[in-house]
Symmetry: C2
Subunit: 214 residues, 2 copies
Amino acid sequence: MSERLRGRRLSTATIARFHTYSRVLERLINDGRRTVSSVQLGRLSATSAALVRSDLFTLGFGGTRGVGYETDKLLERIVDVLGLERVREVVVVGAGRLGLAIASYLTQGVRGLKITALYDIDPAKVGSEVAGIAIRSGDGLGREALADVLAVVATPASSAQHVVDQLVAAGVRSILNFAPTGLAVPPDVTVRSVDLAGELYVLSFLQDHHDGPT
Amino acid sequence: MSERLRGRRLSTATIARFHTYSRVLERLINDGRRTVSSVQLGRLSATSAALVRSDLFTLGFGGTRGVGYETDKLLERIVDVLGLERVREVVVVGAGRLGLAIASYLTQGVRGLKITALYDIDPAKVGSEVAGIAIRSGDGLGREALADVLAVVATPASSAQHVVDQLVAAGVRSILNFAPTGLAVPPDVTVRSVDLAGELYVLSFLQDHHDGPT
């Protein structure tokens, strides 16, 4: 893969931007748009035109001044680079409001992602269905075979570490954590955390210090 | 503020880490711990000991080899720098599963943040209460006075831009967006986006390319 990207290693921020471009491009193509300028793509992706040009150059696209980029070719290339043709299975642990919101979003046809299981430890929830996904008991989580799936942790902070230990025992190597707590995992396991309060603190700090942060 | 931070401008990533440290320190203090090492604080904050030492040096803390940092003094300093003594009001737009999950989390006593309103355009939801917060009609959002609040957008992608336009009209300058779409705002308004699918794509890419990304 890397040699097809001009030898550049992709940062996680770049991967996230490529994914945003792919979503914007899908919308543009649905609207019948054949080309897009770096300025337009930047505005719709909440990033700068300069960064768009740099990113697309990485992908081998030079663009044509005054014409812009061909939407369908660009989308095809990004889908290829990110491996979005392949469907990745996702399991969600925690069937509270947040877990159900995530599960419900993932059943709405998000390209390349498919939710295959939803776990909860509450016996009253186990067995009920959400958007066609049956809620399974979290008790046996550590004995499941989940080597290739992505796992989303949407439990309270107090149970998140236990859940993560079970997921790791089941073979999971990639975890997206929504519980407001740090998590310890072996070195071959990747955890990314979405921290609602942390995001709001950053906004609050930026609002107080307009000229301060970078 | 900056001169008290050795002239260093804080990046958003640093602010987010300071907040994580504050949460970890609160937990340690509750557990009766008087000191913490950079290794321990790093492990509990999902970051490296070296970065912890660098961050705390920015705050004026040198640490003592073999003893570590005093938990109470460190927490006090971070609370001061981040302005966490002051309570910031938060409004949430969208009372679907995700909006309710966020509202419910924010009513559980998150330091420095207080949810004051929850808006939805569905007349069937308006007037009902969630964790003591009455759901208000989103129709009049643009006429509210929301200059100092942080706004969370938890609507479908299709209505997010309209909601953001209304929030901006109401004076909001800081928006946390959960809708899976880019948003256009005036230059004096800050939008941070949490992108569930994007986070999962990053994990998926990393799992496929262990040695690839940085």
